[in-house]
Amino acid sequence: MKKVDKRYWLTSRLMGLFSALLMLTLLPAGPLLADRTGEAEQLVTQMMVRAKQAVENTALDEAGKQAEVSDLLTSYFDVEGIARAATGQYWRRASADERSQYQALFLEALVRTAVSQFDQFRGLDFQPTASSQRGDKMVLVGGVISDPTGQRPQAIVNWRLTTLPGQPARIIDIEIENNSMLMTQRQENIAIIRKNGGEFSALITALRAAAD
């Protein structure tokens, strides 16, 4: 009788262990990774609320707009990473001095472009629709930018964020109606460098000329 109990005890334990292992293999991989889609969505929504407050503030002068845009970019975006990725393989060829000059000019250009379009964003609403994890270090936040008056067609926007371990989420790309801002800027920058015999300094010259 005792032998039967022992066997039963062993069998039930093995069954339990087997079931636990089976459960582990059947579980989707997602929950085992740190799901940071919520954090990413919250960051984008927070940024859009701040951006909306800024564009609706008609009392802002040019310098005020620049300060707001600059603050938004440095607070929510990985500007250094974007600048680096926007030069493709040519980043490796740039000297330390060229890199720092380029990064400063790149941020200036981003601010200038955003300020020039500041008024176009007035009256628009952002609504996140769906978010998804891309690998274990990126999140894509999908949403819609719409005009409540119906004057302008709504646009589908995807925000790509990095969610690196131990670091806050940061925006690295915006895709509007299937056009990636990073991809477009990268192809434009690379075209300038290639047109000038692969000289990274040509991009700095072009950025400086645009700023003047």
């Binding site: 990725a85 493709g88 998804s132 109606e177 056009n179 990636s180 192809q187 920058n189 075209a191």
Partner: protein, 277 residues
Amino acid sequence: MEKNALFRFVLKFFPLTRSRPVAALVLLPLFALLAACSSAQTDGPGKQLVMEDRFENGNRNIYALNERLDSAVLEPAAAAWRQTLPDAAQRAVSSHVSWTGLPATAMNSALQGKGENAGLALVHFAINGLTLGFVDLLEDEAERPQKEDFGQTMAAAGVPSGPYVMVPLLGGGTGRDMAGRVVTAFLDPLGSLTGVSASNQLVQANLPLSAISARADNFDLINQVKYESLDPYARVRSLYYQQREALLADRVTAANQSAVDDSLFDSFLNSEAETDQ
């Protein structure tokens, strides 16, 4: 295979002699040759569209010409259009221009086996036809037909994209898409569907209208590219390829679907991999 057969059948039996035969006879073989010259690895059904600009120097010259033409004609006309026409009238014209393209979408959807989209295009064409497309009576419908042109049909049939070519007045596109534009104008799907022999005159009359309307609809965006880009030609080319790839992948209205491959972002995830493309 079945799609290829259908594609050849339509090319053979569609009424090809309807309009503008000389221009088509010259342009079509030229663009088709360009597409055929493309290396087999560029793309095909289900493959990524690869940017190929072997005529870049010549293309840049034609782009500069197009930009001068835009500054001289289209931009001032579009600016006047925006200033003089009320928003509702601008939307009506824009809607009418889109409506005239629905038969082409229906035909190309059918050729690609996208029956649902073909049906949607026909329904929208028939119902909005009550107002000649000037009023979108189905504006609130969630399901809208996705644009399908002959370039997309050729891509679905496995025709390679060919190099990027910039054409005076028409703008830029791959050899395949330029051939597609010629074929669409040549086949005249609007006339075939309505049975109106004068439909080509309608389309021709619409051409300047649609050019001004499209320029006005995208006035700020085009000016931003034209005046604020570091390299407007490279930017236009990049935007074209991204848009085209989305169209070929039927990704036009899909939210939460990325337009770019995740590998583009490797440099953000790994400081050692600074970018490799």
